[in-house]
């Protein structure tokens, strides 16, 4: 057992734990796909239902991410730079959607749009959200926007505010300094945060199923399609969805990890 002493018992035990976790995840995923067989999975993948779910998921997640970025970039910037009374309170409030289970967030949204005068007015006169596809975007937006703020704040924290001060003395307004100096300097971090938010939006289930419902060929995103297929014991489709989500998530995480390291986010 001299090799054990040489490497160190703690390192060996830690390595064993890491190997166990990696094998466990691989076993669970690939055992299912091997059990079902590639031809079954391919036919499930090209089924109308899954094709619809893939397109809906990509479209809604992309729109939700774009909307989240429009709000989250300035919010993260203000939270990083500004010192104002009640800043800690605002910081804590922004964390609520992260701490809450997505189902609870979805329930709160559902109650707001069905039981409050303002919510009912928006839902009936402005845009139909409850049990409708726009509701998916809102549910995803609610979950990922605060996540994006959390991810981007450290990026802005890492950029010396004196760069903006210099830009101001060089004749540029506050907005211009932000757009031409801070944002380009933060672009790697912002892109990394956007990728992670996008991946999270694609996998969003709890808030989506509560607000937008689980209607086949209407509000059927990939996680909801998986839920519906599981409830019907359609294992082929459920497994195909798991593999699609896995492929998308792993790609996004690999890309965002690489970019985020450059931009100062630790994913």
């Amino acid at each position: 057992m001299s090799w054990l002493k040489e490497i160190g018992t703690f390192k060996v035990l830690s390595g064993a734990c890491l190997t166990f976790l990696a094998l466990f995840i691989l076993l669970v995923i690939f055992a299912g796909s091997i059990f079902l067989g590639p031809s079954t999975l391919m036919s499930a993948f090209f089924s109308d239902e899954l094709q619809f779910a893939i397109v809906l998921t990509l479209v809604t997640a992309t729109i939700a991410t774009a909307l989240a970025l429009i709000v989250s970039i300035p919010a993260a910037y203000v939270l990083s730079r500004a010192r104002f009374p009640g800043r800690d309170l605002v910081d804590a409030l922004i964390n609520i959607p992260i701490a809450l289970p997505p189902v609870a967030l979805g329930t709160a949204l559902l109650i707001f749009f069905t039981n409050t005068p303002l919510g009912v007015f928006i839902n009936s006169s402005f845009i139909k959200l409850v049990f409708e596809p726009p509701g998916i975007i809102l549910a995803q937006f609610s979950v990922i926007s605060v996540l994006a703020v959390r991810l981007m704040k450290p990026v802005f924290d890492g950029i010396d505010p004196r760069y903006e001060k210099v830009a101001r003395t060089l004749g540029h307004s506050e907005l211009d300094s932000f757009m031409r100096v801070t944002l380009p300097m933060a672009k790697d971090g912002v892109f990394g945060a956007a990728m992670l938010a996008w991946a999270r939006a694609m996998g969003e289930f709890g808030a989506t199923v509560t607000l937008a419902g689980a209607t086949r060929f209407k509000t059927e995103t990939l996680p909801i399609a998986m839920f519906l297929n599981l409830s019907l014991a359609n294992l082929e489709n459920a497994m195909a969805i798991i593999l699609i989500l896995l492929g998308l998530t792993v790609s996004v995480l690999l890309v965002s990890r690489k970019i985020a390291y450059r931009g100062g986010i630790s994913s």
């Binding site: 004196r162 001060k165 003395t169 060089l170 004749g171 300097m185």
Partner: protein
């Protein structure tokens, strides 16, 4: 001026066109804060800021026409050298482009044009930052500790280059500049005037000669590294004043202080001469009113061509002299020496 819990009080100084004023003081004295207030990048809660008699207190930084070279240069890392310089131009086309090119040629950095800022040496960064600040045609140039992050050896070379560039810029453009540093040697090399800050206030402002000859307060004397002693003024006659400190009589320049008043006696370390005999060997001092005290060397610290010698003559004195002279006198700890300093080099401050 009030900024949060910090306040800048009674700040007022003049810098003539083509002149450079050094703003010196210990860390936390408010030098950078003052510079940022002048540049407009820090908001003040009360007070007023006037530039050339114009109230700019509520003017946004982009309208103040103040050139600002911050600590560490802060060149924009996502832009190349020429993009950094062109950043200061609202419309970088036509004449504007020519001006950027002209400025780069003038300051000898036209060869750096398309380079990435990360690949520049410190000296090159300084010149790019200076050019970028000048491209906006500022009325005042503010330089905030431009060499604070540079090692001592490189600093000496860079200071010379910067001084040359700054002199040329100031002379040609008739530009007034303010140079912040906490390094007195650097400030003396770069400027002809100095303002000494302490705790948000300017303690003294004037030419280096004047500040070195007659420091206005104990703080200024201590900050400059002068010898300070507590004593009492005993008499004044013939333009000289006499004070008693630790039982010793010291003659100095007469001041408005009254006989019997407690005073702080100030002597510059460079104004003291050491000799092994009572005669200090300086013929031009023969007819001067001179203070002579016998004592012994307590410690020595060599700093390149200069050596700081600590002696005890009944009270402690720091002497700064050339290392060659120290060698010639064969000084060592315990050596018996005579300390000489002219009365004209001694000033008295109210205690």
């Amino acid at each position: 001026m009030k900024i949060g819990r910090f306040a800048l009080e009674g700040i007022s100084f003049d810098v003539a066109d083509s002149e450079c004023l050094a703003l010196v003081g210990p860390n936390g004295s408010g030098k950078t804060t003052l510079l940022e207030c002048i540049a407009g990048v820090r908001q003040i809660e009360s007070g007023r800021i006037q530039l050339n008699g114009v109230d700019v207190t509520h003017l946004v930084p982009e309208k103040r026409q103040v050139g600002y070279v911050p600590q560490d240069c802060l060149l924009f890392p996502h832009l190349t050298v020429d993009q950094n310089i062109a950043f200061g131009q609202r419309r970088p086309s036509g004449n504007g482009k020519d001006r950027a090119k002209e400025m780069m040629e003038w300051l000898g950095i036209s060869h750096l044009g398309g380079r990435h800022t990360k690949s520049l040496s410190w000296g090159e960064k300084q010149k790019v930052a200076l050019t970028r600040a000048l491209i906006t045609r500022p009325r005042v140039l503010l330089l905030d500790e431009p060499f604070s992050s540079v090692d001592r050896v490189s600093r000496r070379k860079l200071l010379g280059e910067m001084r040359k560039s700054l002199d040329e810029v100031s002379r040609t453009l008739g530009l007034a500049s303010v140079y912040v540093t906490h390094d007195l040697a650097e400030a003396q090399l770069m400027t002809s005037e100095v303002a000494i800050m302490n705790n948000g206030r300017i303690e003294q402002v004037g030419s280096w000669e004047r500040v070195l000859q007659t420091p206005s307060s104990t703080f200024v004397a201590d900050f400059m590294g002068f010898n300070t002693l507590q004593g009492t003024l005993t008499s004044t006659d013939d333009g000289y004043a006499v004070a008693q400190a630790d039982g010793r009589t010291i003659r100095g320049v007469a001041s408005e202080l009254r006989v019997g008043e407690p005073v702080i006696i100030v002597v510059r370390p460079e104004a003291i001469s050491l000799s092994l005999g009572r005669n200090n060997g300086k013929p031009h001092w023969r007819h001067c009113e001179c203070n002579v005290f016998q004592g012994s060397v307590k410690g020595m610290r060599k700093m390149g061509s200069l050596t700081q010698v600590s002696i005890d003559v009944g009270f402690p004195l720091n002497v700064e002299m050339s290392s060659d002279t120290v060698d010639e006198l064969n000084l060592a700890v315990g050596t018996s020496v005579f300390a000489h300093f002219r009365a004209s080099e001694v000033s008295f401050l109210r205690a």
